[in-house]
Amino acid sequence: MHKSYGVGTPVELEVLHGIDLVLERGEFTALVGPSGSGKTTLLNLIGLLDRPNAGRLFIEGQETGGLGEEDITRLRGRSIGFVFQYHYLLPAFTALENVMMPILAARGRPDDEMRATAATLLDRVGLTPWRDSKATEISGGQQQRVAIARALAMNPALVLADEPSGNLDTASADGVFDVLREINETSRTTFLIVTHDPRLAQRCDRIVELVDGRIVSDRPNAHVLRSSSG
């Protein structure tokens, strides 16, 4: 995939120069690279928040280039979960309601089943005691975990995380990472995680390095593979 900004203007800039990447189901991949290398841009393309100028993107085998705005939105809602550096929870809603929100948007009216799904997810990220707290009343680490539970609400095939622990202290960051890893292992959810933290990258199955809009290295992480298989 290629992606340029400012097409047709004097300041046209290509930020991704032919990215070729396959994420297998259940993979837990780290996307690393210096600032400005195009990590977030790539994440937005894969997450259907943006479209490439050239190239094709398949989500669960479906070609996405020909889809209209509504179909893209539906596919995104169903197949992809997002965790951003900042949690972006809706402050007017409780933790539980925030987790329910993607299901509510998809189905239209609230029911007990979606409440139960959300409660289960909150339980998985260890936040059951805070389920009725407003999103603004819990700590940063907890907020990020609510955001993770929300990303999982539609049981997506792929979760894209853009520096999910970037705003957190080490202990909270580790906790958030543990949650991601645990979900990956129990649900076989595919993860693509942008991170600056080499320590966290080392805990992933595969590390893709991006420099100046090109993939410069793409290798399995032997250390993790050994430890998880052994």
């Binding site: 509504e70 939105t73 972006y88 998809a106 009216r109 929300r150």
Partner: protein
């Protein structure tokens, strides 16, 4: 597949609750604006109805008079010069030719409710040292009361006018120092006079009419005004007073008589009313516009404040349509709440106004009828205006690019 907009409703109401201060302020703003609009509408229609009712108290919607007499120049004779100047002829009181036939004919006109002949002319009421100029109206009580509800305006005495009876207004009674049962002399310019007994006093709620109008039997007026067997006018009541002019034109078409509708004789009043409706409408329009702009500006700010939240809603699968509706609902809901408040305010104002706006004598200046339909219309209109006002900010929110919204 159409789903009911629960998601949109839930998000919209949470957003409004989140910015509670903003929401309450705009509801208050809409309420005040809406209150002014409802109050002015009620006042205007009340005023209109009152003036109409009062005018038609003592004036028939349509009055038919004999044709004006015109002086015709002599026909030009061969070889002779004729003076070109023609003096307008002075009009004497005349009877309508064959008024019985015309009356019967008008009675058959559609939308005509009642028809009555009258003899009306000037006269003097004389009692002791007092002399007052009056308009004598000779009536056939039965048919006349169907056109003008004089019988309902009697405040003292009776209304069954006999040959030697007279009914006068409260003002004239005061001026003459006469009361029910007293006698006075009525004289006219043709030299006739009669001594009549006051059998009743009326009050039309209009000083001029109470001072000037006197009612006698048709036969008495015919004698006093030297129109024996005649009728100087035919008065007509129609179903819809505002259609009077159209009906008058229909009647006019069939005769050479003068047919005057109250709409033409009160042209000044109708001009004033039109001007009032126009200014009133303009004020209401601008107040409405201000309210709509207020709603729009609050929502524009709200969209900017909530950019990131809108972005995340979009990222997690909310469609553009859903985001659009979230803001349209907010516009409509704020306007609806505001109009409920406005209606309550207007109701209060109207009740207060009704109490405060009194004539010098302490009677109510006019009765404002509080119509529930007005409030219903106000609420429906306000909600539509609110949704319309929300359209621009809502479309802006729907068009937000999630990437840009989250990143900004």
């Amino acid at each position: 597949m159409k789903r009911f907009a629960f998601f949109e409703l839930i998000v919209a109401f949470r957003f409004m609750r989140e910015g509670l201060m903003q929401t309450l302020l705009i509801i208050l703003g809409v309420g005040l604006g809406g209150g002014v609009i409802v109050f002015m509408s009620a006042l205007l229609s009340g005023l209109q109805a009152n003036v109409v009712r009062r005018t038609l108290n003592y004036q028939a919607p349509i009055r038919i008079l004999p044709p004006d007499q015109v002086a015709r120049p002599l026909r030009a004779v061969e070889g002779a010069e004729i003076a070109a100047q023609v003096q307008p002829r002075s009009q004497r009181l005349r009877s309508i030719d064959q008024w019985q036939k015309i009356r019967d004919q008008i009675e058959r006109t559609p939308d005509v409710v009642a028809v009555t002949p009258v003899v009306a002319g000037p006269g003097f009421a004389l009692r002791g040292d007092a002399s007052k100029s009056v308009t004598i109206t000779g009536i056939e009580p039965e048919s006349y009361f169907r056109v003008i509800a004089l019988d309902e305006k009697i405040v003292a005495g009776r209304h069954d006018i006999g040959p030697l009876d007279i009914v006068i207004g409260t003002e004239l009674a005061k001026d003459l120092g006469a009361n029910v049962g007293d006698k006075f002399r009525l004289a006219t310019a043709v030299g006739a006079n009669a001594t009549l007994t006051v059998i009743g006093l009326f009050d039309f709620g209009n000083k001029g009419a109470n001072e000037r109008n006197v009612y006698v039997a048709l036969r008495s007026a015919q004698n006093l005004l030297d129109l024996v067997g005649g009728a100087s006018a035919i008065e007509v009541k129609v179903r819809d007073p505002f259609a009077a002019e159209t009906i008058a034109q229909t009647i006019r078409g069939g005769t050479d008589l003068q047919v005057e509708s109250w709409i033409v004789t009160n042209a000044q009043f109708f001009t004033a009313m039109r001007a009032q409706i126009l200014t009133n409408t303009l004020i209401r329009l601008f107040v409405g516009l201000t309210v709509a702009l207020g709603i729009a500006s609050v929502l524009v700010v709200s969209v900017i404040q909530k950019q990131k939240e809108i972005g995340i809603l979009r990222a997690m699968g909310a469609s553009r349509g859903q985001v659009l509706r979230v803001f349209l609902i907010q516009g409509g809901a704020v306007a609806l709440a505001g109009s409920v408040l406005g209606s309550a305010l207007a109701w209060t104002f109207l009740l207060a106004w009704r109490e405060l706006a009194r004539n010098p004598d302490g009677t109510l200046m006019f009765i404002v009828e509080i119509e529930p339909s007005l409030f219903a219309i106000a609420m429906v209109t306000a909600t539509l205006v609110g949704i319309l006002a929300a359209a621009t900010p809502a479309r802006r929110a729907a068009r937000l690019d999630p990437v840009v919204a989250i990143r900004s």
